[in-house]
Symmetry: C2
Subunit: 237 residues, 2 copies
Amino acid sequence: MSSLSPPHPLPPLERDGRERRSEDTRRALIAAGLDLFGDYGIKGTTSRMLATASRTNVAAITYHFGSKEGLYLAVVGSIAERMDQHLLKTGMPDPAAVAGASLSAAAAVTVFANLIDHLAGLMVDSEEVRIWARIIVREQSQPTLAFETLYRGRMERIQGMLASLIGAAIGSDPAAADTKIRAHALIGQVLGFATSRESLLRALGVKRLSPTHRETIRRVLRQHVEACLCRTRPASA
Amino acid sequence: MSSLSPPHPLPPLERDGRERRSEDTRRALIAAGLDLFGDYGIKGTTSRMLATASRTNVAAITYHFGSKEGLYLAVVGSIAERMDQHLLKTGMPDPAAVAGASLSAAAAVTVFANLIDHLAGLMVDSEEVRIWARIIVREQSQPTLAFETLYRGRMERIQGMLASLIGAAIGSDPAAADTKIRAHALIGQVLGFATSRESLLRALGVKRLSPTHRETIRRVLRQHVEACLCRTRPASA
DNA sequence: GTCTATAGTCGGATAGAC
DNA sequence: GTCTATCCGACTATAGAC
């Protein structure tokens, strides 16, 4: 017997099978948590609901995540991971890079508009993002430990990036409160389509947004962003 | 004994005392509900929490409102009443009136900006409105029966009013989806300061907004509204 | 109209068989 | 690792004294 082999290696197939099954259970619980925590909140979601939706059982929650709260944190963690993947796809560079590279105002506006358009696309097109939105909205008005996970390096980075671009676009200090507030207002326009969805649907008199509606939303947001960044001083018509 | 007198009139003082006390209990429960339902949701708020916060008792909820859900509906009803009072104070005329009176574009922008400023003031200055916001945000992402109360004649009226003003400002049809979406985007900017408050506070690195921050918010929103309404076509810097 | 005591239900977590 | 059966605590709603 080679000394390099572990003393009691499990048969690979059986071990893989077990690990695979365990991982499947974890995934199923997290997927159920994404749906249910968003709809009903932490307390409103019962272990039994999670067990049924995930086609597992109540004991699995404690076994894999320690508690229902542990599962919630894992759910938020999975959102954070997916956010990171989406952020990579935007090709969003480091805020510091933008601050360093002296971007022209026009270029900054273009980058900003593209970024907003990308976020708007996610917000109105992606069912996945809409599911997160409910959890994030809850964390905004009643932050738990999980807010830190969502904010640090993610929302923080978007906010910093937008502030840098606004700085370049209108010649303001990216670190100034004024600039940060501008970034917040502009991103608020986008988020409104996730957070106030029900109002929008009622105003439009529809049950769901059509592709045309979605295109209009993106076009309007782009126009608004460009208008706000190219015209920083109030002026009458 | 006059035949006009009821057979067994209660002594006025005692009757007033009872009615007063009953009304006080109802008020106290509704006030507790405003705070607690916003923070913890319907299910997350327990009868015991409501009884303790209102300095009444669990039985009073069932007695006065039929059930915890009944109290929730009463809480939303009280929000609706207060919204109406605030709407009156904005001096907001009927949307139809604006649609009828052919307002000049410049005048429409001014009225719109004042309206947004008024709403922004409520959103950032009024503790009361911030408490509503949490309940309304919940209703947006998970509407209950109560959403109807909030929407009909209230949010609906604001949305309609904004759409009419946008119509006058940029010469579009107030009933068109494009116009409604513009209204939604612009109001979203304002609402973002209520719904994404935690992000804003973190970005600014403060625990609460200073008076200067609030002034900045209102100034930025006014500038953005004016920019968006005076410049409907995208243009490079 | 108020409030204490309690009935009946359902919650999260666990023990122990498989 | 999974899952059934079960514990115990907390919940809502109610009954009945005041």
